[in-house]
């Protein structure tokens, strides 16, 4: 073994011999066993720690990330010796600090954590600020997480105005072979920190089909998201989970790799691709966190078929519990709140609210529904179709007619996209307006939301974190004239097509969740209960 190491060092010429001794050894990795690899990784870490004074922590992360790059590509390469050498050369030559390569970093963290746990050797390193939430496994479970300072990273999709962040993102996507989508059209200055894509430029234009790096079901899912074929947070989460089931089904562990680590690495470019197609929703984020946790909890002795079966079952049970059964529970609570003779106002198309109304109708409650709709999505038509098919008496208005119709209304039922930790409700744009006018007319507002949509973010306005949809959607033809047809030619004209807005908690009277009926301000309590349970 020692001879092979020395011969490989003669092949490469670099200033740092020790580093490339290790990396040269990695080039022959197929012949190394798992224990050897672990030892090599530990040595490399020690070596990096010694060099910590020369370079900053960002370089250390770059090294770790370099380690992750050769590892998955190892099984693919035939002659690793001379191919592994150029890879570290290129990586070391790259200028920009990749401290923000967060997914790689956190996965490296996970790996380091597990190693520390398994070997019970070295404790966590400095760069583990990010892993603060995940490091609870090494601390006693009784300590509440929320009292530790958690430095949350800023998501990429709200940093569009920062050129450094954009460059980092571009590099990361290039490495993962995910196409970078370019912005479209003039962006309103208030929203220059967000992306604005056009539906006519789907992200698949820049990648070759069939795609080698990204699983085909993920490509299809991404296209469905970006074209708006799958919309609505429940639908998107369920579609995502089904696609991941397919991915797990088709996955095969490469030799000398652990399923629990490698599969998580495989998922990372898929998630980047999906977030390029359309920024991830809070429910999708929670689902992905759950899957990653489940994958990393697979014991290493588990055989591959067994592991896959376990994961499929986990996903199925997640969908069943958090979405399907939750909606049953919410319907039960909500039906108590619907009395005979009610006039109920709903906005847009929320799958949960539609389900509640259909259930209430089946239970012989007598009520009628007013569906409020808004341009440009006009989702209310879909809700109208579903309710009319059931036989419920409906009225249809646009949101500008709200003040006209509200005196007739006795209750307002709204769906939510996410519930934020400070009690604000993030939902389709227009929801806050409905809540405002309902409050002015003293009509009770009830929000229905499953607990898996609760997220720890806080937000006070609709600007800092939002989504900009295709601005061309606002163009419309009325009376044979399309005024905004050439809006791009007017350089001072911008079109703003927001997707979400946040409703302050004082407009909302009650939130109906699968855990019961709670006021808006109790959301952090639920989050804490959930975290302790996990």
């Amino acid at each position: 073994m020692g001879d092979r190491l020395t011969t490989s060092t003669l092949l490469v010429t670099e200033e740092d011999e020790k580093k490339h001794e290790i990396i040269g050894a990695k080039g022959e990795g197929k012949e190394l066993t798992k224990e050897e690899k672990q030892r090599l990784r530990k040595e490399k870490k020690q070596h990096k720690k010694n060099k910590k004074d020369d370079r900053g922590p960002p370089e250390k992360e770059k090294e770790k990330e370099k380690a992750s790059v050769p590892a998955p590509s190892k099984p693919a390469t035939q002659s690793p010796a001379h191919k592994a050498a150029p890879v570290p050369v290129n990586a070391s030559a790259s200028e920009s600090p990749v401290a923000a390569e967060k997914p790689a970093k956190s996965k490296a963290e996970l790996r380091a954590e597990r190693r520390a746990r398994q070997d019970s050797e070295r404790a966590s390193k400095q760069g583990k600020k990010e892993g603060g939430q995940q490091s609870t496994s090494s601390k006693p479970k009784a300590t509440p997480n929320e009292l530790q300072p958690v430095v949350k990273r800023l998501p990429d999709h709200v940093q569009v105005d920062d050129p450094v962040a954009l460059k980092k993102l571009a590099k990361k996507l290039e490495r993962q072979q995910v196409p970078l989508r370019s912005d479209y059209g003039y962006k309103v200055s208030l929203f220059s920190h967000l992306h604005q894509y056009s539906r006519k430029n789907p992200p698949t234009q820049q990648i070759s089909i069939p795609v080698t790096v990204i699983h085909p079901s993920i490509v299809r899912l991404g296209l469905q998201y970006s074209q708006g074929i799958i919309a609505g947070s429940n639908a998107r989460s369920v579609a995502l989970l089904h696609a991941f089931k397919q991915v797990i089904q088709d996955y095969s562990t490469p030799p000398n790799e652990e399923l629990s680590r490698d599969l998580v690495n495989k998922l990372s470019p898929y998630i980047s691709f999906l977030s390029q197609c359309r920024p991830l929703s809070a429910s999708m984020g929670n689902a992905i966190k759950y899957i990653k946790k489940e994958i990393s909890n697979i014991p290493s002795q588990c055989k591959e078929e067994e592991a896959k079966r376990i994961l499929q079952e986990c996903i199925d049970s997640y969908i069943n519990e958090k979405i399907i059964l939750a909606s049953e529970a919410i319907s039960k609570y909500a039906i108590e709140k619907i009395s005979d003779g009610d006039v109920i106002l709903v906005y847009g198309c929320s799958s949960l609210v539609n389900h509640i109304l259909c259930e209430a109708f089946e239970k012989q409650r007598k009520f009628r529904v007013i569906v409020v709709d808004s341009r440009p999505r006009l989702e209310g038509r879909e809700a109208l179709r579903r309710l009319v098919k059931k036989g419920i008496r409906c009225t249809y208005v646009l949101i500008s007619a709200l003040s006209y119709i509200l005196p007739e209304v006795s209750k307002v039922f709204l769906g939510a996209h996410a519930l934020l930790a400070n009690g604000y409700v993030m939902s389709r744009v227009g929801t806050s307006q409905i809540a405002l006018v309902a409050k002015a007319y003293n009509v009770p507002v009830l929000v229905c939301c499953e607990t898996y949509k609760f997220c720890e973010r806080v937000q006070t306005d609709s600007f800092v974190s939002n989504e900009l949809d295709d601005p061309d959607d606002l163009i419309v033809t009325r009376n044979g004239k399309t005024h905004l047809e050439n809006w791009q030619t007017f350089k001072s004209l911008g079109l703003l097509n927001l997707v979400y807005d946040v409703t302050p908690p004082d407009f909302v009277d009650l939130v109906i969740t699968d855990l019961g009926m709670i006021p808006c301000t109790s959301v952090p309590v639920v989050l804490r209960v959930k975290n302790v349970d996990q």
Partner: protein, 347 residues
């Protein structure tokens, strides 16, 4: 006979005007602004005064009232017609009183005086014949027409007093008064305008393109985003269809939501409305046809509503800017009493 010719010509013109009003109301003809309607009504009334047969003020008032009733019946939602009729009636009363020799202050005090006395003396007041009454009335109507032509300019001249630089201003739909107001301010100041498109006819689009042609930074937002962006707006400037006697508004639908959102964020709501939009009558909210709102097969199974106007209560309004200056909503009733005579409130 020349007299009969004149009469037939007159009635032809009145008929033409009525049919024009009806067509505009149904949306088939071109949409005209209220200023145009007001001008045409006033010129028509001047013609009636000049060409119709009357011997004393009372007769003239009867004729005008009758024509006025017909015109308002032709298009009930267009209140400027009725407003102009009432203005002309007030002019006639004033000119009559001036010819009789009594001063104008006495006329105004008459209304209070009438409350205390039995008020029986006014009935036969308008039967006296004055030779110069016709000329005086026509001259006064000409003054009214001049005033009407200058209203938009008068309002725009006040723009710089209300808009400072780097402001974000929100407006809804399309108002020619507000358009002129903002364009005038844009000549000297740089600011940003957000236009709510006002579905379903989306007149906001036209407004936005027109403003951006003058190099004003404009953004078009859908109606649903009004509350979402309101926190960054400094002022809301809107036009209106009618100003009511209590200081409230009958404006395009969606304005009430805008006013509530502005109130929540304590953003001042400024209404640019010329004086001829002040109306003393009771209002109705009209519904528009909604056949294009939904595809046909669903439409047969649901009710749909598409109101044309919104009522905005006076508590939500901060300021009225009209051709005679700025006023608080609580002062509108006083302006109303100066413009119209209480007996003319019901035509």
């Amino acid at each position: 006979m020349p007299g009969a010719d004149k009469e037939t010509e007159l009635s032809e013109r009145i008929e033409a005007f009525l049919s024009e009003l009806k067509r505009c109301g149904s949306g088939a003809g071109s949409l005209r602004g209220s200023a145009e309607t007001a001008r045409e009504t006033t010129s028509l009334l001047r013609r009636i005064t000049a060409q119709a047969r009357w011997s004393n003020a009372g007769d003239l008032m009867e004729i005008i009232r009758k024509e006025g009733r017909r015109m308002t019946a032709g298009q009930p939602s267009e209140t400027t017609v009725g407003n102009m009729v009432r203005r002309v009636l007030k002019i006639i009363r004033e000119e009559y009183a001036r010819s009789r020799g009594s001063t104008e202050e006495a006329d105004q005090q008459e209304s209070l005086h009438k409350l205390l006395t039995s008020g029986g003396s006014s009935e036969d007041n308008f039967r006296q014949h004055f030779t110069h009454l016709k000329a005086n009335v026509i001259e006064a109507i000409n003054e009214l027409l001049t005033e009407l032509e200058g209203t938009t300019d008068n309002i725009s001249m006040q723009a710089l007093e209300h808009i400072h630089s780097n402001e974000v201003i929100m407006t809804i739909g399309r108002s020619r008064t507000v358009e002129a107001f903002l364009k005038d301010a844009a000549r000297k100041r740089k600011f940003h305008v957000i236009v709510a498109e006002c579905a379903p006819f989306c007149q906001g689009h036209e407004m936005a393109t027109s403003l951006s042609k003058e190099d004003i930074e404009t953004t078009v937002i859908p109606d649903a985003a009004i509350f979402a962006v309101m926190s960054r707006v400094n002022k809301v400037i809107i036009g209106t269809q009618t100003v009511l006697a209590n200081g409230g508004l009958r404006a395009v639908n969606g304005t009430h939501t805008l006013a509530l959102a502005a109130k929540h964020h304590s953003t001042p709501l400024i209404v640019c409305a010329p004086m001829f939009k002040l109306s003393p009558q009771r209002i109705q909210i009209f519904l528009r046809s909604f056949c294009f709102l939904l595809p046909g097969e669903i439409l047969s199974k649901v009710n749909a509503h598409c109101p044309v106007f919104d009522y905005v209560p006076p508590e939500l309004i901060t300021l009225f800017i009209s051709n005679i200056g700025g006023n608080a909503p609580s002062y509108i009733y006083r302006l109303m009493s100066e413009l119209y005579h209480p007996e003319d409130h019901e035509l």
